[in-house]
């Protein structure tokens, strides 16, 4: 198989944009874990990094909202946000149209998706890249799961999408890494920003590490109404995390960091799957 790395991480814009407002002790331990994930990612020598982010109206709107979309270009631009506000300079990020097209073609055998030859990155991708590939030297394949504008794809479809990506990796000669970004519980960009359900987050990450499909797709815990109540509208982004679980094909995971940093609006999280355990 050619899936060489799988993990998840937070992507909240405050991580870079409001760095000076956080408790430096917690912040720096989080940054260290984030950068370590980058070291491990690059050590896996991927030819391309698939980044599954729940984007935030940078490319897709309710006039034509895909549940699942994959980018197919040689270059992308980001961030769309004010660079000073996000703390990340605007730049070109390399893609690889050929790898994307073959990846998309394989994914389509199992999942109905949209593809996009234009894609502007927002914090959902730019914040992870800032820590994971700070030299921006590995081609990115951007993936979006609609987690913003309901109706949202059922979790079962997100799981199937992850399985389709795993099969696509296996069918390709390239070494592919998959990173999911977002969540977990949060009420971003509202007056409730900073509210975090830590117990809910830890319970979800326990299910994620065990890669327990039934627990991750638990309709009582994770139907949209319950998620909205327990974990805020930001909780819908669990789709990106459990898609990586499906892609990892039963591998067991390790949480390297998961602690609330309220001024960053989330339980800041870094976790990876041990693909050798699959």
């Amino acid at each position: 198989m050619s899936l060489v790395f799988a993990g998840v991480c937070s992507h909240a814009p405050g991580i870079t944009g409001r760095a000076h407002m956080a408790d430096p002790d917690v912040r720096d331990r989080f940054y260290e874990a984030f950068r370590q994930m980058g070291d491990d990612l690059r050590a896996a020598k991927p030819d391309a990094v698939v980044i599954i982010a729940a984007e935030h109206f940078a490319n897709f709107f309710m006039n034509n909202m895909p549940s699942f979309a994959i980018g197919m270009a040689d270059s992308y631009e980001g961030p769309i946000e004010d660079p000073g506000w996000l703390g990340i300079e605007r730049r070109q990020v390399p893609g690889n149209r050929d790898i994307s097209q073959r990846f998309i073609t394989e994914v389509m055998k199992g999942s109905d998706i949209a593809y996009a030859e234009e894609w502007k990155f927002d914090h959902g991708i730019m914040v992870p890249l800032h820590f994971l590939t700070p030299d921006y030297d590995i081609p990115v394949i951007p993936v979006n799961i609609n987690c913003q504008g309901p109706p949202l794809a059922p979790l079962e479809r997100a799981w199937a999408f992850g399985e389709s990506m795993r099969r696509a990796c296996e069918a390709m000669p390239e070494r592919i890494a998959i990173i999911g970004t977002g969540g977990i519980s949060h009420w971003p960009a509202t007056p409730d920003s900073g509210k975090i359900n830590e117990a809910w987050d830890l319970d979800f990450m326990d299910r994620w590490c065990r890669n327990d499909k039934d627990a991750l797709l638990d309709a009582d815990a994770y139907n949209d109404l319950q998620v909205y109540s327990d974990a805020g509208q930001g909780g819908f982004e669990i789709r990106t995390y459990l898609t990586v679980s499906a892609a990892a094909g039963g591998a067991q995971g390790v949480v390297h960091f998961c602690e609330p940093i309220p001024i960053f609006a989330v339980s800041c999280t870094v976790a990876t799957y041990d693909l050798a355990s699959a």
């Binding site: 814009p13 405050g14 944009g17 409001r18 000076h20 407002m21 956080a22 408790d23 430096p24 935030h56 109206f57 940078a58 490319n59 709107f61 309710m62 006039n63 769309i80 946000e81 004010d82 506000w85 996000l86 502007k120 913003q148 504008g149 309901p150 009420w187 971003p188 960009a189 509202t190 007056p191 409730d192 920003s193 900073g194 509210k195 909205y228 805020g232 509208q233 309220p262 001024i263 609006a265």
Partner: protein
């Protein structure tokens, strides 16, 4: 004349630097093609962040608009709270407010208070 149209305008503005330049020069001219009512136009032109949040604008869209206007983070949060206090609960959408008006949710770390964004 709907939340959809307000959000569509903000979506286009947020991702289009040329439109941002035009909007900086003449806000009403850029808003003209969008089907907005007087309340919505006034809220956008002000900009009245609290009113826009009250109308139900998705926070991920509103946040970028606030950043475009160089509104500092804590000020952005306060403007939304003031909007709820002034105009009432969020009218529609998924971005309702669930905490009390005076709750302190995400305090700035004591060593950095007074720093700007």
């Amino acid at each position: 004349m709907t939340l959809y149209a307000v959000q569509k305008f903000l979506y286009e503005l947020n991702r289009t630097p040329a439109m941002q330049s035009a909007y900086t020069a003449d806000r009403h001219a850029v808003l003209e093609p969008f089907d907005l009512n007087d309340e919505e136009v006034a809220a956008l032109v002000e900009p009245d962040i609290g009113k826009l949040f009250h109308l139900g604008v998705n926070g991920q869209i509103l946040m970028h608009f606030a950043a475009f206007h160089q509104i500092e983070w804590q000020d952005y949060l306060q403007r939304m709270r003031d909007g709820i206090a002034t105009y009432g609960p969020v009218r529609e959408g998924v971005y309702a407010m669930t905490t009390g008006l005076d709750d302190v949710i995400a305090p700035v770390h004591s060593s950095s208070k007074g720093a700007s964004s």
